[in-house]
Each structure stands twice: as C-alpha cells, then as structure tokens.
Amino acid sequence: MPSQPKINTKRYWRKNLQTLLILLFFWFLVSFGFGILWVEELNQIRLGGFKLGFWFAQQGSIYAFVVLIFIYVYRMNRLDKEFDVNEE
C-alpha cells in the first residue's frame, strides 16, 4: 500500500472526475448530439460531398472518439505525476 496523504488522493480523484466529465461531455456531443439529436439541423450544412450531420454519424464521431482517448491518456499521465501517484 502506498502511503499517500489522504487529502492528496482526494484532490487527485476530484481532478480525475473533472477530466472525465469534460471528456464525456464531448463524447456525448459528437455522437448523440451531432450524429443523432441535431442531425437534421447539421445536414443543412455541407462539408464537401457530405451533409455535416451524416458525416458526424458515420465518420466524424469515430475520429473524435480516438482523439478523446488520447487527450485522456495525456492528461491522466500528467495528473499522475503532479499528484505523485504515477507508476515507476
């Protein structure tokens, strides 16, 4: 068991939850938001040969998912170091 001061762990966890909420907000926005709920509205806008809503549903959301995970990895690695809970 690592002997972390409890306060530190609590703050780390709170920052972690903040990160999660922000990233999950974008996860919801690009798929359920742009790809489903507002797809009709976005389809009025064109992106080259795509209607924008359709593009989000079949392409854009997937790219965004990949980016979100890598932002998470980067952000968590920094948090781990900052709060000294990282692995050797």
């Binding site: 972390q4 798929s31 040969g49 209607k51 998912f65 990949v66 690695n77 990282n86 692995e87």
Partner: protein, 560 residues
C-alpha cells in the same frame, strides 16, 4: 492462378502462421493462460483487442448492413466504437489496477459476495456462449463459400484450429495470434476498398472517397440519394428509424461493448495502469481504420450494385452477378417480362435481391481486381471469425476454471487449475462447434442482443463498484438481476413469444428490442442505488480497496 487455388494458398499460409505463433508462445502458468502473464505491450494489446473485437459480422456483414440501412446504419458505427471511450475512461485503468483476472473476480471481491460472483459468472457465460456460437457458424460459412466444402466441415476445421491455439496457448497464444490476424484482416479489408474508391471517385482514401465526386461531377452521396429516391426508396443519408430508437440502440451498443467480458479481460494483460489507458486508445485506432472504411464500402457497394443492374437488360449484366447468383446471394428474376432488371422497394415487383454480405464478399470482383485479392478477402474473413471465437472461448474457460471451480475449491494447485482451464476450453470449443453445425434458430438473433444483456447486467455494477463506495452487495445483486431479467424478458416477448407485435406501436416508449438494453441499464442503476441506500454500506476493507484501485501506483508487476 484460379481463385480457388489462391484462396487455399492464402488461407493455408495464414493458418500456418497462427499455429506457429501458438506453439512459440504456449502458456506455462495460469497467469499466462488467463492474462498472458500481464506483460503484453500496449500496442500489441491494442491490435489484439481490435482483432478480438472485430468479428466475422464486422468484417463481412456490417458494410452491407449499412448499404441497405443508409443513415440508420450509423448505430453500428457509433455504437461499436463509442464504447471504447467508456472503456478507456471508466473501466480499463481501474480494473487493471484491481489486478485479478476476470470480471466476476472483480464483482466477487468488490461486492464481497459469492452470490454476486456467481450471478456475474452466469451473465458472462450466457453472453459469451450466444456470441461464440454465432462466430463458429461464421467460420463455417466462410469456409463453405470460399473453399467449397460443406458448412459442417468448415466448422470442424475451424474448431480444430481454434482448439489448437486457444487450448495450448491460452491468453498468451491468443494475443499474439490475434496481432497477426489483425494485420491479415485489415489488409484484406483495405485493398479492395482503396481500389473501388479510386475507380469511383479518383480518391485512393475510401474515407474521403465517400464524400468525393463521381466522374460525371456530382457528389457520390447526392447521386445515391437521388437514385434511391427515384426508385422509391428512402434517401441514403436520412433515417427511417425514429430518433428515440436510434438513440437507444446506439447507447445499448456502446455500453454493451464496454460491458462485454471478452473485451474487458484484454485490459488485464498489460503491465501498468497507464498502459491500460493507452492500449484502449490504440485499440480504437485499429478498429477505427476498419469502421471508417466500412461506410465507404457500403455506399460504393450499393451504388455499384444499382448502377450496374437497374434498368439494364438481363443479358447485359456484369459477370460478378452471374458468379454470385450460383450461391443464391444474388437473385435476379424478370417478373414483368420486359427483359430488364427493376430494383424496387415493393417485394411484389422487385426483381433484384442482394444479400448484404455481397458488398464485401464480391467487392474484389466488382472492382475487377486480380484473383489473389479474392483469396485475401477469404483469409481476412477467416482471421476475423477465428480471433473473436478464440477470445470468447478463453472467457468461457476462465469462467469455469477460475470463477466456478476455484471459488469452491480454493486450495486447488496451479497445475491442476491450468489443466481444468484447458479442459474447459476444449469443452467450450466442442460445444460451440456443435451449435455452429446445428444452429438453434435463435442464435443469429440472440447474438445481436448479447450487447443489450451486457449493457443491462455488467456495466452498471462495474461502474458503480469503482465510482461509488456506498453501493453494496445487496444493491449489486438486485441491480444485475433486474437488468438481466427485464432485458431478457422484453427481448423474448417481442422476438419469440409475440413476434407479430414487434412493431413500433407496441414497443415501450418506441424502443425496439435491440435498444432495450439501454432501459435495462437505467433500471439496473436505479435499483442498485435504491437497494443500497436501504441496506448497510460495504465493510471497511472493501472501502479501502476502492480507494486503492482509484490511484495507479502499486499495480502488479509483469509476471516472473
């Protein structure tokens, strides 16, 4: 060389590689058998996860499904990729820190209860079995189509191969064969897609070709919308399902993905917590390559199919139509006797029936590619089916040897446990093979619902096990059972008891059986929280365990 020769050659070479890898990486301990010793690099694990995840259905059927569903097909694209965000952010790092081998392990320890563990084992076995039976059937179909052997023989050959490397190599053997299988399957998927994209739009990248211009100067998707509308179909880029249903199906698929035991277990195989996060990222990159190409293959396929048949004279149809007519995957019948083919929405007057699997299977011929590409697609489809089947069989054998036998005989020696795991894997292969040869009518339908069941049973209790320290065993057991029974009940009612009522007027809140797992999940969450708040909180040592899994430091070292 002939197509059949190429197919035998390429499938044979790929099998030899898989078996070679299995012998080279055979497992020597239970830890190697269950989680590959916990020493797999995040990149290799990402590739293996991608191969494990993408089944015969993803490889062969998904593009065709989208061809005919248009925008509605987006549920599969978003659903089967978005779940990895949930996995990476909410599950993988914490379960890796927890550091044991299975999902029921976690449920049993976190909820300090054998009952909870057994309920989890039953869920895991049920989900994995329905899923693996479908895969074995897929192996048989691929074999029979490409190698021209009966389906039964195809299943038996597939069983022997999977038996060999799953039983011998365990997770270690499976992981490294899956890396090879990923390379085979993605290469096989991309080659025809790139050529077709070039032919239609002049752009070698299918993802861009989908939004590209045809030779005549109109955008492909606009042209497709117009062509389909003229024939009386719905536009390709607009949906037919209700928004509620699209929303709920997508949610069920996403959450189900994150709750599938054979996917979760992959994140136990990497050395560190940070590797688990990174590995989920790599997995999604490798999956996204296929999943962003599939909608392009779908649109190219349906455009080509309509363009080369609709209103064309019967005797001027392209040769691939004749080739695939032999397999009954395409049926052309001149019903009104005008000597031309009419493709129409009304089944009474429609003269062209295309099976969805054609969009991938016939793509090399549609693009007039050389014979070896056909053999390559066969090897790719095989790789997709075998890798998924092997991953599932491992979950089944682990559930039996570790979660059932070891729970009741804690004193069992490592050697004996390993032997039981191997026997269980062998038993599971034979049982899955039996269902592959004699598929119960419901298997194909049930596979799609494995996601709903995973969403409604596992996902909520794992999430709350990590993110809440108040949820206790009473809540978890009640939640899992509610989610499972509700979802299963709804599906059985609409699919098997009263299939004639399976229309949107009769569904609750307009949610189809495919999407009901989302509602089951919400019920699971509610019941779990309610019951937990009425019963005492978990004991002190469990509270400490929760604190412990929330921080990365101190995760187990790679084995030996």
């Amino acid at each position: 060389m002939e197509i059949l020769t190429w197919t035998y050659l390429l499938v044979g070479v790929s099998f030899a590689v898989y078996i070679g890898i299995a012998i080279w990486t055979r497992a020597g301990s239970t830890k190697e058998f269950y989680v590959a010793g916990g020493g797999v690099s995040p990149l290799a694990n990402g590739m293996a996860t991608a191969a494990d995840w993408m089944s015969a259905a993803s490889f062969i059927s998904m593009a065709g499904l989208i061809s005919f569903a248009g925008y509605d097909g987006s549920v599969y694209l978003m659903g089967w990729t978005g779940g990895y965000v949930l996995l990476a952010l909410l599950l993988a790092p914490y379960l890796r820190k927890f550091g044991k081998f299975t999902v029921p392990d976690f449920v049993g320890d976190r909820y300090y209860s054998k009952t909870a563990k057994i309920v989890a084992v039953i869920c895991a076995l049920f989900i994995s079995f329905t899923y693996v039976a479908g895969q074995m059937r897929g192996v048989g179909i691929v074999f029979s189509r490409y190698l021209e052997v009966p389906i039964e023989w195809g299943v038996v050959i597939g069983m022997c191969i999977v038996f060999f490397y799953a039983v011998l190599g365990g997770m270690k053997g499976i992981t490294y064969t899956q890396v090879a299988q990923y390379c085979v399957l993605i290469f096989a998927y991309m080659v025809p897609a790139i050529f077709i994209s070039m032919q239609l739009t002049g752009n070698p990248i299918p993802q861009l070709g989908l939004g590209g211009e045809l030779e005549e100067g109109t955008y492909l998707l606009d042209k497709l919308d117009g062509v389909l509308a003229d024939l009386g179909f719905a536009e390709y880029t607009s949906g037919r399902k209700s928004m509620t249903d699209i929303f709920m199906i997508t949610l069920a698929l996403m959450v189900g993905t994150a709750g599938l035991p054979h996917v979760i277990v992959r994140f136990f195989t990497v050395p560190r917590v940070k590797d688990a996060r990174l590995s989920a990222g790599y997995a999604l990159v490798f999956i996204a390559i296929l999943y962003t190409t599939a909608p392009a293959v779908a649109a190219f396929g349906i455009y080509n199919a309509i363009n080369s048949t609709s209103e064309k004279r019967m005797d001027e149809l392209p040769t691939w139509i004749a080739t695939w007519q032999k397999t009954d995957l395409i049926q052309v019948e001149d019903k009104n006797g005008d000597g031309k083919v009419q493709y129409l929405p009304d089944p009474e007057t429609n003269e062209l029936n295309i099976d969805r699997d054609i969009m991938v299977l016939a793509s090399p011929e549609i693009a007039k590619l050389p014979n070896w590409v056909v053999g390559l697609v066969a090897a790719g489809a095989m790789a997709a089916a075998l890798s998924t089947a092997a991953g599932l069989l491992l979950v089944i054998s682990t559930s039996v040897s570790r979660d059932l036998v070891k729970t009741y005989n804690p004193g069992i020696t490592e050697k004996k446990e390993l032997r039981i795991a191997r026997i269980a894997a062998a038993g599971a292969v034979i049982l899955a093979g039996y269902f592959g040869v004699n598929p119960p009518g419901f298997v194909a339908q049930v596979v799609a619902f494995a996601f709903g069941l995973a969403a409604a049973s596992f996902f909520p209790v794992i999430i709350m096990g990590i993110f809440s320290s108040r949820i206790n065993k009473e809540g978890a057991i009640a939640g899992m059972l509610t989610g499972l029974v509700f979802t299963l009940g709804y599906i059985i009612y609409f699919k098997f008891i009263s299939p004639e009522l399976n229309t949107s007027e009769h569904w609750w809140f307009g949610i189809s059986p495919e999407g009901i797992g989302s509602l089951g999940m919400i019920l699971n969450f509610l019941i779990c929280i309610l019951v937990s708040s009425l019963t005492p909180p978990p004991p002190q040592d469990v509270q400490e365990m929760i604190e412990e899994i929330r921080i990365p430091r101190g995760a187990g070292k790679p084995t030996h």
